[in-house]
């Protein structure tokens, strides 16, 4: 150490703003670096040509007309959960109970299908299912909100715990309605009558689901941006004290917003059961309640940007499956690739929010 005063090589400074092309360049560089890193790891670990492996990613997501529809369907579900979580996050209410809220909505829809499948006409059944799912999801969202508003409990832990409660309740009902006895599964509900199944639009099974989510996305965008409720949500999110000072009833906003958040999660559950799976299992949501947190966050809580972020995540998940099929690799390997790419994409946000300032003089001296 020659220098008495050691100066670090660089320091980090917050960016006031960033030009759009600059942000674009950073993201592009991150994805490029991610592909290079993933490529090196692929070659080192498997000896395969990384371009072929990446190619499989694309075939897996876009390879056929059916895959394209599956991709759109899965994006719709992911997007639906992400926009459901958004109002709560805008309010800085850390709802990580999306998983449970979706599952309980799905359970409500499934139970309605089982119990009323042959009792009421098809259209009425779908209406009852919708009401049941929305109500169940809203209740699951309101419970932690009530406790937060009244007793200031920790909403992160509370919503997380509610996930496990939802899973256990679902497991309980699966055992009640299992077919055949002891099998631990319900199977496709109303397979012969299709009662409670969403109708196909223009011959496509998933189109209705996709349209519902698109409409919801637009609605949430306007709700958050232009409505009085939306404004109240952002004020409460910025500062509860300010909100109180200007006469916003904070408790009411928390409960109302979580009811909305839970209700839309309930709709996601409805879509999963009525529109897609036609069955209920404890793993129906499959972690999407958590992945959606990342989708919403990456999009900075803008519902339209979430279309792009959910596309990104679902594209990689659907594409990754093809890697194991095409190359006989374990699924864990495609998870590694997905993980690397996501890591780079998330990490690059750091360089968009901050800049690195090189401490020039120091470097010259040392050289």
């Amino acid at each position: 150490m020659k220098n008495k005063q050691h100066m670090p090589l660089f320091h980090v400074a917050k960016r006031a703003s960033i030009k759009w092309y600059y942000a674009f360049l950073i993201r592009a560089a991150a994805i490029l670096l991610a592909l290079v890193a993933a490529g090196i790891i692929t070659t080192v670990l498997t000896g395969l040509n990384p371009f072929k492996v990446f190619g499989a990613l694309f075939t897996g997501a876009f390879g056929s007309k059916r895959k394209l529809w599956v991709l759109l369907r899965d994006i719709a579900v992911m997007l639906c959960i992400a926009i459901a979580l958004t109002p709560a996050y805008k309010m800085r209410f850390w709802n990580i109970g999306g998983e449970g809220q979706v599952l309980i909505g799905a359970l409500a829809a499934a139970l309605t299908m089982i119990l009323l499948g042959n009792v009421v006409p098809h259209a009425v059944l779908i209406l009852i299912m919708t009401a049941a799912s929305v109500l169940a999801g809203a209740v699951w969202g309101v419970i932690p909100a009530l406790f937060k508003a009244k007793w200031n409990t920790n909403e992160t832990l509370f919503t997380l715990m509610m996930n496990y409660v939802a899973t256990q309740i679902t497991a309980f009902f699966i055992i009640i309605f299992e077919v055949p006895k002891g099998a631990g599964q319900i199977g496709i509900i109303n397979q012969s009558t299709n009662a409670g199944w969403f109708p196909a639009l223009f011959g496509n099974q998933y189109l209705l689901t996709i349209l519902i989510v698109l409409i919801l996305t637009v609605m949430i965008f306007f709700y958050l941006k232009y409505s009085k409720h939306g404004y109240e949500i952002s004020v409460v999110g910025e500062s509860e004290r300010t909100a109180r000072y200007i006469g916003i009833k904070v408790e009411r906003v928390i409960i109302r917003t979580m009811a909305l958040s839970g209700a839309i999660c309930g709709i996601a559950g409805l879509l999963l059961v009525g529109g897609i799976n036609h069955t209920i299992t404890t793993s129906l949501v499959g972690g999407r309640g958590f992945t959606a947190v990342m989708v919403a966050w990456l999009a900075k809580f803008n519902p339209f940007t979430m279309i792009a972020t959910s596309f990104l995540i679902v594209f990689m998940q659907n594409g990754a499956g093809e890697i194991s099929t095409a190359f006989g690799l374990n699924k864990a390997f495609s998870d590694i690739i997905t993980g690397i790419i996501l890591f780079f994409i998330i990490a690059c946000e750091f360089f968009i929010n901050y800049r690195i300032v090189w401490n020039r003089r120091e470097r010259k001296e040392e050289m």
Binding site: W20, K52, G55, P180, A299, A308
Partner: protein, 404 residues
């Protein structure tokens, strides 16, 4: 957002160019085969880390390589819409016959079969083919109760050895069994195993615990440990992970396994394992589909036809003379002189089963018993449909929990 989309589009173009450039048509595996071509598709619930799926994967490789055909497999397909997606994707890829290995795949396979009438769908362990009436949907299973019975004989020999050596007294010959669900396939499995053990060691009793999952390493390990703590002196299981064998190896308790040898994780406690060899069925079904012949709606392979197998006996652990005894009993099973579910050998609630006992063979939501399954003084398992339907709790077996 635009930026992300723009970049992704650019990336798509670059990579698809790369993919197109490097990707020649996949060469067929066998070169010139003059026979009609068929491509087979396989759907697995887990991957090779599950003993159950590994057993199927091995069968797939053996059958397809013997027939010299191209095949595609999809692993880690859950029992939901993903199964339907996978099946339809295999159809899109030109598969003429598609297999699925897990019970919960059934409804989704039926859905796919209804939509693709020109493709054959074969579902292992399912129950609905004989009532669904689809020409292109089929179930298959094997008379695994014969293998279980033999594995039970090996367990009975071990119990006798422990009694003779004074390690335990005859009344302490209690077996522990880790089951998945209270489902007929599991019940039939542990009952035939127990009957095999009791045919050798008459004082044997058994306790059963359920995990509520076909594959849950932690729960299976905990279940086995619970049974060992409850003074069970030998453990067997019907669940697909290494959980129970590992627990047995740690505690030094002999283990009779399922789906294949678990000797690698339990060299000091593994005795023998029964398993279904799926290769004969795969060969049969693929050949039928290739030659345009009808596939049976319910196909049941037996020990005689090579569909039910025992692994090599681990002679370090098994009682002396086990190999010879197993060969002797197997011969009796094959020539029909021994019935596994002989009504004389077991009672339910203190009474023998009546000659007109009915079981729930045609699956329905109310579990209605619909078919007489007793013939010539024996419960005829896997005769009226391929999947097991023996779902009675016989005297001598105690269920510790029936939550699942």
């Amino acid at each position: 957002m635009k930026k992300i989309i723009a970049f992704l589009l650019a990336a798509v173009m670059c990579l698809s160019l790369a993919a197109c450039g490097g990707n020649g048509a996949p060469a067929s595996k066998d070169g010139g085969e003059s026979q009609a071509k068929i491509k087979a598709g396989f759907i697995f619930l887990h991957d090779e880390n599950s003993t159950y799926d590994l057993n199927f994967i091995n069968g797939m490789k053996e059958a397809c390589e013997a027939l010299g055909i191209e095949y595609i497999s999809k692993t880690n397909i859950p029992e939901g819409q993903e199964c339907y997606d996978a099946a339809m994707d295999l159809v899109d890829n030109g598969c003429g016959i598609i297999f699925a290995d897990s019970f919960g795949h059934e409804d989704f396979m039926i859905q796919a079969a209804k939509e693709s009438p020109n493709v054959q769908f074969c579902h292992a362990t399912g129950t609905k083919a004989h009532t669904e009436g689809l020409k292109n949907y089929h179930n298959a299973f094997a008379s695994i109760y014969e293998g279980r019975f033999l594995a039970g004989v090996a367990a009975g020999m071990k119990l006798n050895e422990m009694i003779e050596s004074g390690k335990i007294t005859a009344d302490k010959a209690k077996i522990g069994y880790v089951g998945a669900f209270t489902y007929a396939e599991v019940i039939s499995g542990y009952t035939s195993f127990f009957l095999g053990a009791r045919s050798i060691c008459p004082s044997a009793t058994m306790e059963v615990t359920f995990t509520g999952s076909w594959y849950d390493e932690t729960k299976e390990k905990e279940g086995a440990t619970k049974l060992i703590d409850d003074n069970c002196v030998l453990i067997s299981q019907h669940a697909d992970s290494m959980g129970a064998p590992t627990a047995c190896e740690n505690a030094g308790i002999p283990n009779v396994s399922y789906n294949g040898s678990t000797k690698s994780v339990a060299p000091k406690t593994f005795i023998v394992s029964s398993r279904i060899d799926w290769a004969p069925y795969f060969k049969y079904a693929i050949e039928c589909a290739r030659d345009g012949k009808a596939i049976e709606a319910d196909w049941t392979g037996t020990i005689k036809t090579g569909s039910v197998k025992l692994t090599d006996v681990n002679t370090d652990v098994a009682a002396a003379g086990t190999v010879e005894k197993l060969a002797e009993i197997q011969k009796k099973l094959e020539d029909g002189s021994l019935e596994v579910f002989d009504l004389k050998t077991f009672t339910v609630d203190g009474a023998a089963l009546p000659n007109d006992h009915k079981a729930d063979v045609d699956t329905d939501a109310d579990y209605t018993p619909d078919t007489v399954v007793v013939e010539n003084g024996a419960f005829k398992e896997s005769k009226f449909r391929s999947a097991p339907y023996f779902d009675l709790t016989i005297d001598g077996i105690t269920l510790l929990d029936t939550a699942f």
